[in-house]
Structures are given as structure tokens and as C-alpha cells.
């Protein structure tokens, strides 16, 4: 039923996302879209760090790259990452939103408009409120929303902000998220 998974996170999400990527098998049937805040000037190294333990390729996409199942696409630093209706990546240097570029909200909202009910959105640990509006949009357009259990988060601001504005489907620990994702194949 799902056609794509989108995951947003910030402070404290690196270990969680590494664990998730590590748990997904090569040839995973869905594309994974990742929007993780990080230092702006750290241009390279992040993809490599995420790739080390990942079974699926982690790609920092170029503008207009096609989204294919079995790959993880990481929003490049200092760009917004949109999902176009034709299922391609569109990058943008428009102004930061809520001090963030990439903005998790913008990636989630555009992915929701493209995949509608076939989108799974997940918000992980983080230190600001980015992502809350995006996850709300996923839910509004019929998608499924998961938030990492705030009790487990290193920094719970982001997950709590999401829970305040959206009646999410599941509040899950990292292990439960992994279980859920593994059962989608």
C-alpha cells in the first residue's frame, strides 16, 4: 500500500536513523526520503557516515533525479528538497523556513502531495519544531504518521511539537519503527 517513506529528524536522530538503515534489507521495496538537519558547512561526510552500516544505497541527490525504490535519498545541506508530482527530486535555495534549510516541513508537504495515502511519514528526535506541519499534511492527505516515542528521544522537542498538532497513527520506539518498516515488504 505504501509507495514511499519519509523520515525527518534533527538533534539525537543520527543513531536512530543509522539503526533503521542498518535494519532494512538490500532491495527494500520502497524509497526512503531523509531530511535530517545538520551543520551547514559539512558538505560531505554525512552520506558516507550513514552509508557505512546501511544495506541500501544512501544518495545525496542531484536536482531532477528520479526517486527509485530501494534507495535512501538524503536532503543535501543548504538546499530544500521537494518531491515533485512526477516523482523526481527538486532542490531549491529558497529562504530557510523556521531557520531551517533543508526544511523538513517542505519535504513532507511536497511528498504528501505526491504520494497522498501511500506515504508513511516518521518524525524522530530533534531540537526544534520543524516537521510538525509537514507530518500534519501527511495525515491530512491520507498518509500514515509515526512519531518516535518522546520518552526515548535524546531531544523530544520535535516529536512533542508533532504530537501537539497531529493525531498520529503510532508513537513508537526505534525498535517498533524498525519492525513496522520491515513488515512493509
Amino acid at each position: 500500500m505504501f509507495k514511499a517513506v519519509i523520515i525527518g529528524g534533527s538533534a539525537g536522530s543520527f543513531r536512530v536513523i543509522t539503526k533503521i538503515l542498518q535494519s532494512l534489507p538490500k532491495g527494500y521495496p520502497l524509497p526512503i526520503l531523509l531530511n535530517l538537519h545538520r551543520l551547514k558547512h559539512v558538505r560531505s561526510g554525512f552520506v558516507e557516515a550513514l552509508s557505512i552500516k546501511s544495506n541500501i544505497p544512501v544518495i545525496e541527490p542531484h536536482d531532477k533525479d528520479s526517486i527509485k525504490p530501494g534507495n535512501a535519498y538524503l536532503a543535501p545541506s543548504n538546499y530544500h528538497m521537494y518531491i515533485e508530482l512526477n516523482k523526481k527530486i527538486a532542490l531549491s535555495t529558497e529562504e530557510p523556513v523556521n531557520h531551517s534549510r533543508p526544511s523538513i516541513d517542505l519535504s513532507f508537504e511536497t511528498a504528501a502531495q505526491t504520494y497522498n495515502k501511500n506515504l508513511l511519514g516518521i518524525i524522530l528526535s530533534g531540537a526544534n519544531r520543524d516537521g510538525a506541519q509537514g507530518l500534519k499534511k501527511v495525515k491530512e492527505l491520507g498518509g500514515t504518521a509515526i512519531v518516535q516515542d518522546p520518552k526515548e528521544c535524546e531531544v523530544a522537542t520535535m516529536t512533542e511539537a508533532s504530537l501537539r498538532v497531529t493525531d498520529v497513527d503510532y508513537v513508537y520506539t526505534t525498535d517498533q519503527i524498525i519492525d513496522y518498516l520491515q513488515n512493509l515488504k
Binding site: 542531484h62 536536482d63 543548504n78 515533485e84 532542490l91 535555495t93
Partner: protein, 276 residues
């Protein structure tokens, strides 16, 4: 603070209205980008919906100019991607400008001065600014006027300073600008050899004999059709062996594009027009 959301049909109607009234065609702009810009303008100017936007655009030519300005994305950062600028300073410019006189650099679609000022500062630092002629084009007269004055956004100064320090550490960036009334202005003497071109539509005028084109993070805003058309236009403006620099996460990839351009620096996205 729910943002106004534009539907696809509304977006198409807006594009059609602008085409009919002003003969500007935005059909081949990247859809999400164009939609989002119009949404932001509708919110910012309190227009509430697409119909009001269309009415305003049709009846108010000044508002159309504002629309063009808002549509152009300002690059609010000097020396964005420091590794590129380091490469230009240490390798590219010293090599190229040693051989070349009459070196023409074109900025085809400029919305703010940051990129141009960065090049001018770098060339001044290298002592070769006098060898270079700049051409600067924009569809927005509002932006061109600001750039002519050397204006840039003072609130982004910290990023500019920290980028600059990664490239040149002998002197501070503040040697090159002054602050007046909470605005920043680049030293105007850096901008003396510049021709400004107001375009009525993107690429109606094609300068010739260009040796270097800065076109970073502009292709992002066009769909595949327009992207290819623009890259072919840029190709025609370049001298054989001339260079084109695009954004870090852009690439030249149309059918048979390897016949036109060679990628000469993959990390910094510098392409070269093939020798005939």
C-alpha cells in the same frame, strides 16, 4: 498561520494570465517551486486567493515587477560553498587569467549581488580585476538597481564573513564593504567594469564571446525542457573552451550533452565547452 495553498488548476490559470497579459511564459518552471512562490506572494501581499492574484497582476504593472522580483531567488550568501571559491582562487583563475586578456564573465540571471561581489573580490585579491569584463543580466529591474549600488543583505553578514575566512585569511571581508543605515554596500570600485542588461524574458539577448558563465542554482527552478533549452543557449554564448559553473547538486544531463560540455571538475561542478 495556515499558508494559502494553490491548486494545480489555479497554478495553470495564473501562468496563462501572465502569458496573455505580459507575454512571459512560466509554463516550464519547476512546478513545486513556482506554486510555492505564488503562494508566498499571495500571503505576503494579503491577496487571499488565486483570483485576486490574477486580477492584481492583470491590472497593476508595478505589481508584476514585484512578482518578478519575488520570483527570483536571492542568493543571500557570499562565497557559498567555500571549496569552490578556494579552487577558483588557488587554481582556476590564476591559470586562466595568466593566458587570457579580454576575459568576459557573464551572470545570466542575477537576483542579488552576492555571487558577483564574491567573484569581484576574489579577482581584486588576485590583482587581475582589470582584465575582466562582467555582464550581468536579470528580468528584474528592482534587483539590477540594487546590485548597481553594491547593496547586499546585512543580516547575513556572519555567514559571509565565516565563508570568506575559509578562503582568504589575511584580511577581513569588512575591508570590502561599508555599512550605511543598516544596509551593507560593497566597495563600488570593484564594480566598475560591468554591463547591466535588463531582459524582458529569460534569454532574449545572447551575448557572445563569453569565457566564463556563473549559473549556480538556477537550473533548479526550471523543468527538464527549459533546462535543456537554457543550457544550449549558454553553450552558444560561450567561446570554445569557455567554462560554465553550475550548482553543487545540479548536473548537465540531456540527450547527447556530452557532445557539448565536458565536466572538468566534478566536485565543484565546472564544465567546459568542447572545442569544435
Amino acid at each position: 498561520m495556515a499558508r494559502y495553498e494553490l491548486g494545480i488548476v489555479d497554478t495553470r490559470n495564473i501562468i496563462k494570465a501572465i502569458k496573455e497579459k505580459y507575454d512571459f511564459n512560466f509554463k516550464n518552471y519547476a512546478l513545486t517551486f513556482f506554486k510555492r512562490r505564488v503562494e508566498l506572494i499571495i500571503d505576503k501581499y494579503n491577496l487571499k486567493n488565486a483570483d485576486n492574484f490574477i486580477r492584481r497582476i492583470e491590472n497593476d504593472k508595478d505589481f508584476f515587477e514585484i512578482f518578478l522580483k519575488e520570483l527570483c531567488i536571492e542568493i543571500t550568501e557570499m562565497f557559498r560553498d567555500p571549496s569552490l571559491w578556494r579552487y577558483l582562487k588557488d587554481d582556476f583563475f590564476p591559470q586562466i587569467l595568466q593566458k587570457s586578456s579580454q576575459y568576459k564573465i557573464w551572470f545570466p540571471e542575477v537576483s542579488s549581488g552576492e555571487e558577483l561581489y564574491s567573484v569581484a573580490i576574489l579577482l581584486d585579491y588576485l590583482g587581475v580585476l582589470d582584465k575582466v569584463q562582467f555582464l550581468v543580466s536579470s528580468i528584474s529591474q528592482i534587483h539590477l538597481n540594487k546590485i548597481q549600488e553594491g547593496y547586499f543583505d546585512y543580516t547575513k553578514i556572519d555567514v559571509n564573513e565565516s565563508n570568506f575566512k575559509r578562503i582568504i585569511d589575511e584580511k577581513p571581508l569588512s575591508d570590502y564593504y561599508t555599512i550605511k543605515d543598516e544596509s551593507a554596500y560593497i566597495d563600488i570600485s570593484l564594480l566598475k567594469n560591468i554591463k547591466f542588461i535588463k531582459q524582458n524574458t529569460i534569454f532574449e539577448q545572447y551575448p557572445k564571446g563569453i569565457k566564463l558563465i556563473f549559473y549556480r542554482n538556477h537550473l533548479l527552478y526550471f523543468n527538464q525542457i527549459l533546462e535543456e533549452r537554457l543550457l544550449k543557449s549558454l553553450y552558444n554564448c560561450l567561446v570554445p573552451g569557455g567554462h560554465l559553473i553550475i550548482g553543487m547538486n545540479e548536473k548537465i544531463d540531456y540527450w547527447n550533452s556530452e557532445k557539448d560540455y565536458i565536466l572538468v571538475n566534478e566536485n565543484e561542478k565546472i564544465y567546459k565547452k568542447k572545442l569544435a
